[in-house]
């Protein structure tokens, strides 16, 4: 696809094109090349990259209690006690002497992991249910439609609070599985609506006439056309899943010995970090989460441009 776009711009259809115009033009030709998508993906990949490389370059054992002096500020700052930041802990330490850099390196990918895994599972469920509803119709459709209407109004946080309060400590994967049970509704609705409208579309009718199987029509003919929508719904669900996971963690219901951004914030609030002006303790994970959400928003806006050409502006 990218090659094709490049070739398009090399066509000698206007010698007066400037570089900027070529770039804009290329963007118009290929919707996947838009700056929002680019920046959004860049931010998220950056976080993943720092998480992966950080594990190699930085000592992950520093996330444990007592790894360093307590409450050290980031490099270049001073805490209330007049201690300056040190190179060994460039982003400072928390109230139990855990290294903030290590916490972020381990914690941020953990938060993303929960979001992506929950959303992937929810998406798979949604694809199966959505296609079933749209394609099979009848009773199946009714049941799935009503169920997704119902489930979409139940805030996942509150059911999960009940769950985790009853079951106690859970690990990250378990938490992702639980959240997945609440993020299948919107892809289901979306796919169902699209399948209903596409069922009558020319190429699907063609496939049907040529005797293709239902499975073939669903996954070979229709699914590729749904990709931008699915992707948008996937990203929206990653956001919902992370918000829910962070919510549980801030209520003290997340995994206990596994560092996550939400749990770091929880511990900071509980230890009086706000009043003690230990801004790096709660502020860094907050900023990282905010960055993550902004990245996801940008991707979503970018995807909107892909699936809705009217939003693109030359």
């Amino acid at each position: 696809m990218a090659d094709q776009a490049l070739q398009d711009t090399t066509k000698p259809d206007g010698p007066a094109l400037t570089r900027a115009e070529i770039r804009r033009r290329r963007r118009y030709e290929n919707p996947w090349f838009n700056p929002k998508l680019f920046w959004g993906a860049g931010i998220l990949l950056g976080i993943v990259f720092v998480g992966l490389v950080g594990r190699v370059l930085w000592d992950p054992d520093l996330v444990f209690t007592g790894a360093g002096v307590l409450r050290l500020p980031p490099l270049g700052f001073e805490n209330l006690r007049g201690q300056a930041g040190v190179l060994n802990h460039p982003l400072g330490t928390d109230g139990a002497g855990r290294d903030m850099l290590a916490l972020l390196i381990i914690g941020a990918p953990n938060s993303l992991y929960v979001g992506v895994l929950a959303s992937l599972i929810g998406m798979s469920l949604g694809i199966v249910l959505g296609f079933s509803a749209g394609f099979i119709g009848g009773r199946t459709d009714d049941v799935i439609r009503v169920l997704s209407d119902v489930m979409i109004t139940i805030p996942p946080l509150l059911i999960l609070v009940v769950f985790q309060a009853a079951f106690g400590d859970v690990n990250l994967t378990m938490m992702a599985l639980l959240i997945a049970a609440f993020v299948w509704q919107s892809p289901t609705r979306l796919i169902r609506a699209q399948v209903l409208s596409m069922r009558e579309a020319g190429y699907v009718q063609m496939a049907r006439l040529s005797g293709a199987s239902t499975g073939h029509i669903m996954f070979r003919e229709m699914l590729p056309n749904l990709v931008p929508y699915l992707f948008g719904s996937f990203i929206a669900n990653v956001t919902t899943a992370i918000v829910t996971a962070v919510g549980l963690e801030v209520l003290g219901l997340g995994p206990q010995r596994i560092p996550t951004l939400g749990r770091t914030i929880y511990e900071a609030i509980n230890s009086g970090a706000l009043i003690q002006n230990l801004w790096w303790w709660w502020g860094l994970p907050t900023a990282l989460l905010a960055l993550m959400f902004i990245g996801l928003l940008l991707i979503n806006l970018g995807l909107d441009e892909v699936s809705n050409p009217r939003l693109r502006r030359l």
Binding site: T65, G66, R71, A96, Q256, R257, S271, L274, I275, Q276
Partner: protein
């Protein structure tokens, strides 16, 4: 248009900010204390039953104790009582009551009230609070000798009877109730509302988050010359909820005494409000409360039923790291099971001389040698294994405070590094005290159950005798020996502690017996002393001075205790 909008927003903001700063006009005549719990039943003052019925001002301002233990001198100071004399073998005690004491409704406080209250507790098993239960277990009969004299006959000789029951040794004391009000009521359900007492303050109002007490200018104490009227006209106990909230309130001079904060929070408060002080003017700031911290081990659960495994754990623990990380240097490592007060020094010294004092540093190799001797082999993952099973331990910890959870976090790291797969199990306060500890439903847990001794050794040591051993699943009486330690060393220990029971606190034979008993405790390791406790209580000198401090140590600063009467009488208006 832009200007007017900006103006409007500013006005609204200023209005909002100003609205909140309106305060009571008589703030300078009021002392506001921090309360760290909700008053679930604000119209019930039956202190014999559980709930927040004393520490919201009732036993600091309204109900007075008979005596008050001075933490600095170890002496019992008279208050409503003037003397408490034992007979030769400590089996009979005679109480003399101060002349001229009156209830706030004008009735005289005398021997009838004392005898009535004691008999009420003796006859009613439902009166469950610790002070009531302790008295019921010890006293056979109380009889009035004359209006100001009461004689107690005990079930068994007890040289500590006065301080244990009537001296505010820790938190409370047995409080005398007015006979003319309680008579004829069912003591288990009587709400005693509105309450009266003998103190210089009377009950004004209460809600779930506050209790207010106003000075009674006709107080008997001022009229008889016992003491001057205290200066504060009104006392308020206020639930502030959480460390950040109390820090902000004391920094803004909205409260005068705050509950425990972390050292970081105190530093933040000091930066904003230099008028705030603590027990020490500088590091470590904190006052050591009498309940030293320890790791309790359930001696019935394998592999920790092996004393060598328990001793291995004791070797691994690095107390200095606990002090530095969990307490930020506000306390010191424990040398023995006792609180390190001056009055306890002879006993601590005896143990040290006998060679049983604890090291502030860990000795991981010695610990690992013991574990390996028990047949465990270090696995590839750095965790010991035996018969294909990892060496694991779950440590139960009360989740109510970060002090507790962080101490256990430190231990968990130390254990994991030494090859024991430890994990922390935080449980809620009620579950911890209601289910985990008393029923022995744990492997190890963080507690302070050897707490009790302040000026003599027996009270703490008596908590680990075999008398208190019950099977797992049954409630340990009075949280004593929840470790369920009952092997041969425990038998030997118990025998010596029994001999200590009948000796007066200043008996010269006592230190030797302590060292002798401690040798068995050291062999059995039913618990491992960790560090001394630390309470960091900020006091505000903006409106009131005369708070207890290390330099002015007229008594402990624990203003939720019954001895707070002394603090209130010592307060003076700041100039």
């Amino acid at each position: 248009m832009k200007h007017s909008t900006a103006l409007l927003v500013t006005t609204a903001l200023v209005g909002v900010v100003a609205a909140g700063s309106a305060s009571a006009q008589n703030r300078a005549d009021t002392v506001i204390f921090d309360l760290d719990r909700t008053i679930s039943d604000p119209e019930n003052f039956n202190w014999f039953t559980a709930g927040t019925k004393r520490e919201h001002g009732a036993h600091q301002a309204m109900w007075e104790p008979l005596f008050i233990l001075n933490y600095t001198t170890g002496e019992l100071e008279p208050w409503l009582g003037t003397a408490f004399e034992p007979n030769g073998d400590f089996s009979e005690w005679t109480l003399s009551i101060r002349d001229g004491v009156e209830w706030s409704d004008g009735e005289a406080f005398n021997a009838d009230d004392v005898v009535f209250t004691v008999n009420m507790v003796l006859e009613n098993e439902q009166l469950s609070e610790r002070e009531a239960a302790t008295l019921r277990a010890q006293v056979a009969a109380a009889e009035k000798v004359d209006d100001l004299t009461v004689r107690f006959t005990l079930n068994e000789p007890n040289p500590r009877f006065a301080v244990e029951n009537f001296g505010v040794r820790i938190f409370g004391s047995f409080l005398i109730m007015p006979q003319h009000i309680w008579e004829g009521e069912d003591p288990a359900t009587f709400a005693f509302y509105p309450p009266i007492g003998t103190g210089p303050y009377t009950f004004a109002s209460s809600a779930t988050n506050r209790a207010i007490w106003d000075r009674n200018d006709d107080w008997w104490g001022a009229q008889t010359g016992f003491m001057d009227l205290p200066e504060p006209e009104r006392l308020v106990w206020l639930e502030t909820g959480g460390e950040e909230s109390r820090a902000q309130l004391i920094a803004a001079n909205e409260i005068d005494a705050a509950q425990n904060v972390s050292v970081g929070t105190l530093e933040a408060i000091l930066q904003r409000n230099p008028a705030v002080i603590a027990w020490h003017g500088d590091y470590p700031y904190a006052w050591p409360d009498p309940c030293a911290r320890q790791l309790e081990i359930n001696t019935t659960v394998a592999p920790w039923d092996d004393p060598n495994m328990r001793r291995a754990v004791a070797h691994i623990i690095d107390r200095n790291q606990i002090v530095n990380v969990a307490y930020e240097g506000t306390t010191v490592p424990s040398q023995t099971m006792f609180a390190q007060y001056g009055s306890m020094a002879p006993f601590i010294d005896a143990i040290t001389e006998a060679g049983f004092a604890l090291s502030p540093e860990g000795d991981v190799e010695a610990g690992q040698a013991l574990i390996e001797a028990a047949g465990w082999v270090m696995g590839d993952d750095g965790i010991y294994e035996r018969d294909g099973q990892d060496l694991t331990v779950a440590i139960h910890v009360n989740s109510a405070s970060t002090e507790y959870t962080r101490t256990i976090d430190v231990l968990v790291e130390q254990f994991n590094r030494a090859g024991i797969a430890a994990r922390s199990v935080p449980v809620e306060n009620g579950v911890f005290w209601g289910e985990v500890l008393p029923f022995g439903a744990y492997e190890m847990s963080y507690s302070w159950l050897s707490c009790g001794s302040v000026n003599e050794p027996w009270t703490s040591m008596n908590r680990y005798t075999t008398d208190s051993v019950v099977p797992v699943g049954e409630r340990s009486p009075g949280f004593n020996n929840t470790a369920r330690w009952d092997d041969a060393s425990a038998e030997a220990y118990t025998e010596i502690v029994h001999r200590m029971r009948d000796l007066a606190p200043d008996d010269p034979a006592l230190p030797g017996l302590v060292a002798e008993a401690y040798q068995h405790l050291d062999a059995g390791v039913p618990f491992i002393p960790l560090v001394q406790a630390a309470k960091l209580l900020p006091f505000n000198t903006t409106y009131w001075t005369g708070w207890p401090t290390a330099e002015n140590a007229y008594n402990s600063p624990a203003f939720w205790w019954n001895h707070t009467h002394q603090i209130i009488h010592s307060l003076e208006r700041a100039q």
